[in-house]
Point group: C2
Chain length 265, copies 2
Amino acid sequence: MAKNIQSLERAAAMLRLLAGGERRLGLSDIASSLGLAKGTAHGILRTLQAEGFVEQDALSGRYQLGAELLRLGNSYLDVHELRARALVWTDDLARSSGESVHLGVLHQGGVLVVHHVFRPDDSRQVLEVGAMQPLYSTALGKVLCAFDPVAHSDALEAERRPLTPHTVTLPERFEAELSAVREKGWASDVEETWQGVAAVAAPIRDRHGMAVGAIAATGATERICDPEGAGDRGDGGPGRIRTDLVAAVRDCARAVSRDIGNGRF
Amino acid sequence: MAKNIQSLERAAAMLRLLAGGERRLGLSDIASSLGLAKGTAHGILRTLQAEGFVEQDALSGRYQLGAELLRLGNSYLDVHELRARALVWTDDLARSSGESVHLGVLHQGGVLVVHHVFRPDDSRQVLEVGAMQPLYSTALGKVLCAFDPVAHSDALEAERRPLTPHTVTLPERFEAELSAVREKGWASDVEETWQGVAAVAAPIRDRHGMAVGAIAATGATERICDPEGAGDRGDGGPGRIRTDLVAAVRDCARAVSRDIGNGRF
DNA sequence: TATATCGGTCGACATTGTCGAACGCCGTCT
DNA sequence: AGACGGCGTTCGACAATGTCGACCGATATA
């Protein structure tokens, strides 16, 4: 493989650095973080600024991400074929289930949310399109790991930090769960990522049977799970998710799979 | 001013090209569009692909925008201070007015929507965060033109294509409207951009009095405008907008202005 | 006021990206 | 079937390009 363009790699690293750090960063911070000379870093930043990818606070001189990224990110959504096909199906799923629905795809060792339908009530909700979710603890992530070898190895080599007391961290238990997901054809997340929140997810497959994305219904544990057993998670078996919800999510995922050209699922 | 980095400018031009064209583009198209040798274009695209900014369809070999842009665009929203301050105020405005609310900032000769609160009902709505609106015909755009000299000149030199029969295209009428906006302190758009849709907008000002953004309430003309006069727009006077809605939008914009450190407005 | 650090500039250097030709591949047309 | 034309990709030589580190003025700090 031929060499990639150095200045572009460095510019991308800067954008990621600015995206990671919560606050604005100064030129010297950026230069030292990437091991560059100040002059070099400034040249790249100046160009990125002229193109709208970064903005500079006039007073402090610090840099932050620019508006052009938002515009391009939106254009990405416009072109996204899977998302376009899923729009109407996910909308129906949200209405019929009464829960919020997410569409996620694999991206850089995590799940990128490319579509999010709010729960159909008046509660205040924040849009999560563009946000990342971990592979090892979310329903979307587990589905993708179970049916996509790349996601699987990504999740294995990543650090599985416990996010709640229910998070599965041991490799063997994680593997067992993925096997179960493969067998069942769907995955769940009962308070493994966020306290009080549960989710069900099913894979979207293209015409070759490859998992190209996943659809999940997410909501408060009390609504997603059956009330039986006093709500305790117990042995970790997956039987507690409401079966009608599982069926609805799987139907939705199948419908989208069919829509993108896969007649078998 | 020192020269900007050539390869970065070219990469940015490619991303914008991909964002503009609806469909995926081939390497030869991209190279010829930008006047580059195929080898050069390929080197840039290869790097952009490795960084996740573009993706390549495995079968056709064509290129499209990449998921990393969505992630970075989302990060941009996280850092956006004005948006963060406006979140709760715009939410309240949407609830009290019953209409959808947009927060826009000036970006590259247009209005970039950085926040969008859905109208609080169950109707199907598409999120417009990241979308661009024209300066000359929308309420958001006119407010920014009226109070921001840069936006003003941008709008003047741009082509004002008529979007509906009500769009103001003549320069003198546009200027007169901006003067009125400056005097009133708010702007309206009654079916000048979209048929059947009207909007009211007011500016957000920073501690120096500069307009840094605008807030708009948008909805069906029948709900935004007073029913008087049988709904015909007539002489173009702005008196038809519901006065309570104007007050609510202006109050919201003032509240955000106060929140970002401007006590005067 | 002295000082440390900031963002920004400049010019010499050689690394780096650019160019154009050539390659293998695939689909189409003859 | 065969030849063709177009596709994305690779390669190597060249010099244009981006990089580096010292330097500058302004600003914040003490």
